[in-house]
Every structure is written in structure tokens, then in C-alpha cells.
């Protein structure tokens, strides 16, 4: 019966119930979307790294595997790598951030094609001039661009030479020497990719290279992509923690206000329940059940909103963001929603439990 009263109370104020559940849903969505985007971007980067077809990934000394590293390797090192046993192809590139999580990659197209098997062109073809750019299909779709169009990059116009199939390294490619020059990195590289004659020898070659170049970050492609996790991104786990804390505070405030209003509005009803013999515990139980149900509705709403945000990202900004659905975080998000909601219901609950029955019954 108490559950029926809980449901009827929530149905009695449909707008307030919907708004509260929606706000709790927003906090759940915030968490699920943030984690989903973090994982999505990392997984997408890992997928694109794998898509190149390299066996070994080399980053400059002192750099992180998944941060935007500076171009800290001399271009001459390409010759050194090409002479190593089992290395059949070498490609060096410069990666430059262009805002947010987006980058432009400077490649030597001939070198890159040898290593990766080349791009598949959906429109146009390889760049012919110094200030031409290749964009991937998601970038073209999101920005409504095609071969021959001009885009602004690094404060200058670039002609789109071709639109390529997505999945190889980056979304924007320009001639390496042009990017080196524009970013003051002439003769320097951000990363080097190596292709071996036999992939099974990767660990052996990596070990040999690490011995020769102890300061360099040298990874097999499997090891490199395994580093694309939330915990390996500096500050990301802390950032997610902050968002969770903010979500709890948000849930606390919203539910606190809602339940406080509900307790005030139902003063007389609480008095009636007490006159029928309801104990303070019964009244608190009633409010906590109501709050828990709001948290459940909010949680389900939040999961649906997270699907919505993924749809929005896929539809409107496929080139910039990728969001994963993260079912393993659903229980955590529920815990956060429930914690915030129950904390918020605590004071109104205690107030209701302590309400004097006679005063409550005379409340207009």
C-alpha cells in the first residue's frame, strides 16, 4: 500500500515529477556522456592508429603515448630506423593540435602510402600543392565539404584535394614539410611509424630499439593502443571524479528542493498519516521510497538521454567527437543519482518525521 501511495503521490504532480526526474536524468547523462566520450575518443584514436597498419610506434623522448606531443625527433632518425633489421617501411609525421581534441597531421604522402597501403579516396585525390589538405569522410560530412572546397586551418586557407575513407591515423592531413614550416618544426617529427617484414618479430625489434634508443618511447602497436584508456590520460580520471561530485551536489539540491516543497505541500497529509498511527519512521520511509523511485526514473531517463547525446554527436559532430555507450557505468551512475537524491531527501524527511501532528492537521 505504501508503494501505491508513493506512485500516486508522484502521479499527482506530474510536471514536478517529470522535471525532477529529468534533472536527475541530466546528471546521469552528464556522467555517462562524459565517460562515453572519453572512452569513445580514446577507442577511436586507437582504432585509427591500428588502421595505419604499422607494427611499431615511436614517440619523442619525454612524451606521453597519448598526449599531443611536440615535434621532438629529428627527421634524420627516419634513415636510422629504415636501416634496422626487419624494418621495411618507415613514415614520420608531425601532429599539431588545432583546438579541442582535434589535430592536423603532416605526412609525406609517398612515405605514408608505402607504409599504410595508401588512402582510399572517396572524392578528389592526393594533394598536389603545398597548401592542400586531405579530409576524412566524417570531417567532410560534418562540415559539408568536398574536394575543391577551401577550409581555414592554422589561420590560412587550404584547398581540399581529396576526401578519404576514415580510419587511418587522423581526420586532416597536410604535406609534412608545409606543417613543419608553419609550426616552426622544420626538420622535426612528432612520431614515427615502422612496418616490419614479419609482425611476429615486433616485440623482438621493439626490445632491440629500446636498447639502442633508451630515451625514446617505443611501443608495439598492441601496447600503444592498450594505453588508450581513461586512466592513462593525465587528469581525465580526476575530471570525471569532479563531474560525479558535481552530479551528487546537483541531485542533492534538486531533490532537496522538490521534497521540501512536497513536505510543505503535504503537511496536512502527513498529519493525517500520523493520526492513523504512522510512526516517524513510516513517514521517512514514504519520502525515501518516493525519492528512490524518482532516482530510478531519473536514472532510466539519463540512460536514454545518453543514447540521445550519442545520436546528436554522430549526427552533428562526427568528426570531432565519438561517444560510446558504457553499460558498465550504469550502476555507478545509479549509485550517484540515488546518493544525491537520498541526501537531498534527508532534511525534508526529518522535518516531516518531526512534524507535530496537531499543527500538521490544522495546516491549511
Amino acid at each position: 500500500m505504501i508503494n501505491k501511495l508513493v506512485i500516486e503521490n508522484l502521479k499527482h504532480r506530474p510536471l514536478r515529477t517529470a522535471l525532477t526526474a529529468f534533472t536527475i536524468g541530466m546528471q546521469v547523462m552528464m556522467i555517462l556522456t562524459l565517460v562515453g566520450i572519453s572512452r569513445g575518443l580514446l577507442a577511436d584514436s586507437a582504432r585509427r592508429a591500428q588502421g595505419v597498419g604499422a607494427d611499431i610506434w615511436v614517440r619523442p623522448p619525454g612524451s606521453s603515448a597519448i598526449s599531443f606531443s611536440s615535434a621532438g625527433m629529428p627527421q634524420g632518425i627516419l634513415r636510422y630506423f629504415s636501416k634496422q633489421p626487419h624494418v621495411v617501411h618507415v613514415a614520420g609525421m608531425v601532429v599539431h593540435p588545432i583546438g579541442g581534441v582535434n589535430t592536423v597531421t603532416g605526412v609525406d604522402l609517398e612515405e605514408f602510402n608505402r607504409l599504410s597501403g595508401g588512402f582510399r579516396y572517396l572524392d578528389g585525390g592526393p594533394f598536389q600543392g603545398r597548401e592542400e589538405v586531405l579530409v576524412d569522410e566524417f570531417y567532410a560530412e560534418q562540415n559539408k565539404k568536398k574536394a575543391g572546397d577551401v577550409i581555414q586551418l592554422l589561420n590560412r586557407p587550404w584547398k581540399i584535394a581529396g576526401v578519404v575513407e576514415a580510419g587511418k591515423l587522423g581526420r586532416l592531413f597536410v604535406p609534412r614539410d608545409t606543417l613543419q614550416e608553419l609550426t616552426g618544426n622544420t626538420g622535426k617529427l612528432s612520431q614515427v611509424l615502422l612496418k616490419l617484414d614479419d609482425s611476429k618479430l615486433t616485440d623482438q625489434v621493439v626490445a632491440s630499439l629500446k636498447k639502442e634508443l633508451p630515451d625514446y618511447q617505443i611501443y608495439s602497436i598492441a601496447e600503444f593502443t592498450s594505453l588508450f584508456t581513461v586512466s592513462n590520460v593525465p587528469g581525465l580520471s580526476a575530471f570525471i571524479g569532479v563531474i560525479i561530485a558535481l552530479s551528487i551536489v546537483l541531485g542533492f539540491v534538486v531533490v532537496s528542493l522538490t521534497m521540501y516543497a512536497a513536505v510543505l505541500e503535504r503537511t496536512r497529509e502527513i498529519g493525517v498519516l500520523k493520526s492513523l498511527g504512522a510512526s516517524p519512521g513510516y513517514v521517512v520511509n514514504l519520502l525515501l521510497r518516493e525519492t528512490s523511485l524518482l532516482a530510478v526514473i531519473g536514472w532510466i531517463t539519463g540512460i536514454l538521454l545518453a543514447f540521445g547525446s550519442r545520436w546528436a554527436i554522430r549526427t552533428f559532430v562526427p568528426a570531432y567527437l565519438t561517444q560510446q555507450i558504457v553499460p558498465d557505468w550504469w550502476p555507478i551512475a545509479f549509485g550517484v543519482a540515488l546518493t544525491g537524491a537520498l541526501l537531498g531527501a534527508l532534511y525534508p524527511g526529518v522535518k516531516a518525521a518531526r512534524q507535530d501532528a496537531i499543527e500538521a492537521l490544522s495546516h491549511e
Binding site: 500500500m1 501511495l5 500516486e8 498519516l273 493520526s275 492513523l276 498511527g277 510512526s279 496537531i358 492537521l361
Partner: protein, 224 residues
């Protein structure tokens, strides 16, 4: 003494309003017999509502003794008074006080649920619902019912747990004459047919006339 269900001895209640003490009851003595229909009448401020609240366990007395079905209210804890409301006393209020979100049936059921009574109510209570004339209205919410119907649902709710005492505070205060007479007749029927002890507070002499006995209160005392 075995037939005395309520025994009140030198009952006093003092409210503190700021620094001022207000004596609401100034030594009330009263016995109510089991199965009696008693009306307490008196003007506003005479102390009848305070007496009602103390008998219902809604507020503790300041001094004196109140024995309800043999148990002294004076020594009762808050939890024991809550239990008294659950098992021994049923309330009917002037403003009906039905829960607006629940149907009539659920308003009755919630009282059973609080008293931890499960399952369908028995055939005897079904008969009472027929007698109250609300059997066909059980699935309606209070807003869809007339004042008289709401008050009859409130009476059903008050007696569903078979309390020893039914306390009615101005039960016809919000009703027109026709509905008032219906409700008062029903209270009298309940009293006669079920031997239900009823203590009714009213300022209306016509309503009080339905009772077996009338006591008058004035200035916190019973005067006749």
C-alpha cells in the same frame, strides 16, 4: 470500573506561547463507558479540542491521568502513543482529511496498512461499507465525491481497524443539514449496532442530541 473505557482524572494541559503559559485544561474529570456515544459541547477555547488531542494520543497531558482501555496515557512514550492511534483510537475530522491522491478504497486500506493488516477486509466490514452507503464509490478519489461521501469514507477509515474508541471532531462542521443528519445517524447506528464507543466534539446542540450523553465544557473544565 470494568465497563469504563475512558477514565480521566484531574487532567491538565498547559501550552507555552512564548513566555506566556496558557492553561487549556484545568482539571478535567470524566468517565466514558464502553459502548457509550458521548458528545462534548462547548464554545471555542473551552478546551474540547485539546481533550480530543490528548485522548487521541496526539499530544501528551501536562498532569493528571487518562486511562484508555486500562492504559495510562501519562506514562506513554511517543512510540506508545503512536501505537495507541494505530490500534485503539480512530479519528474523524471536520475536514474529512482524506488523502487526495488515493481512492476511497485506498484511503481505507492505508489505515489497515499502517496497522500492518494485510489481505482483503472481512465480510463484516463490507456490511459496514454498505451501511455507510459508499460501497459503489470506493474507486473514486476524494475530489470526485461530495462532502457527505468523503466524511462517510473517513468514518470507514476510522473504524476499519476496529478501534475501541472513535473520536469525532466536529464531524458535521463542513456539511449541510441533510448530510449532517446522515452522518450523525450513521454514527448512532455504528454505536448501536457495533457497540462502538464514540466521543464526539461539537458546538452544535442539534448534533449533540444524537448522543447518549452530553457534557459541557467551558474554560478548560467540564461544567455539566
Amino acid at each position: 470500573m470494568s465497563d469504563t473505557i475512558i477514565a480521566i482524572r484531574d487532567l491538565r494541559k498547559i501550552y507555552r506561547v512564548g513566555d506566556v503559559e496558557v492553561a487549556a485544561l484545568r482539571g478535567v474529570n470524566l468517565d466514558v463507558q464502553r459502548g457509550e456515544f458521548l458528545a462534548v459541547v462547548g464554545p471555542s477555547g473551552s478546551g474540547k479540542s485539546t481533550l480530543f488531542h490528548i485522548l487521541g494520543g496526539l499530544t501528551p497531558p501536562t498532569s493528571g491521568n487518562v486511562y484508555i482501555d486500562g492504559r495510562d496515557l501519562m506514562g506513554m512514550s511517543e512510540a506508545e502513543r503512536t501505537n495507541l492511534r494505530k490500534t485503539t483510537v480512530g479519528f474523524v475530522f471536520q475536514k474529512y482529511n482524506l488523502l487526495p491522491t488515493l481512492t476511497a478504497a485506498d484511503n481505507i486500506e492505508i489505515a489497515r496498512s499502517i496497522a500492518r493488516k494485510n489481505g482483503k477486509w472481512d465480510a463484516q466490514f463490507d456490511e459496514i461499507l454498505k451501511m455507510l452507503g459508499i460501497k459503489a464509490r470506493l474507486h473514486h478519489k476524494p475530489r470526485a465525491m461530495s462532502g457527505g461521501e468523503q466524511q462517510r469514507v473517513a468514518i470507514a477509515r476510522a473504524i476499519v481497524n476496529e478501534p475501541a474508541i472513535l473520536l469525532a471532531d466536529e464531524p458535521t462542521g463542513n456539511l449541510d443539514t441533510e448530510n449532517s443528519n446522515t452522518v450523525l445517524s450513521l454514527l448512532r447506528d455504528l454505536n448501536k449496532r457495533l457497540n462502538q464507543t464514540i466521543l464526539m466534539i461539537t458546538h452544535n446542540p442539534e448534533a449533540a442530541a444524537f448522543a447518549d450523553r452530553i457534557v459541557q465544557m467551558r474554560d478548560g473544565r467540564i461544567v455539566s
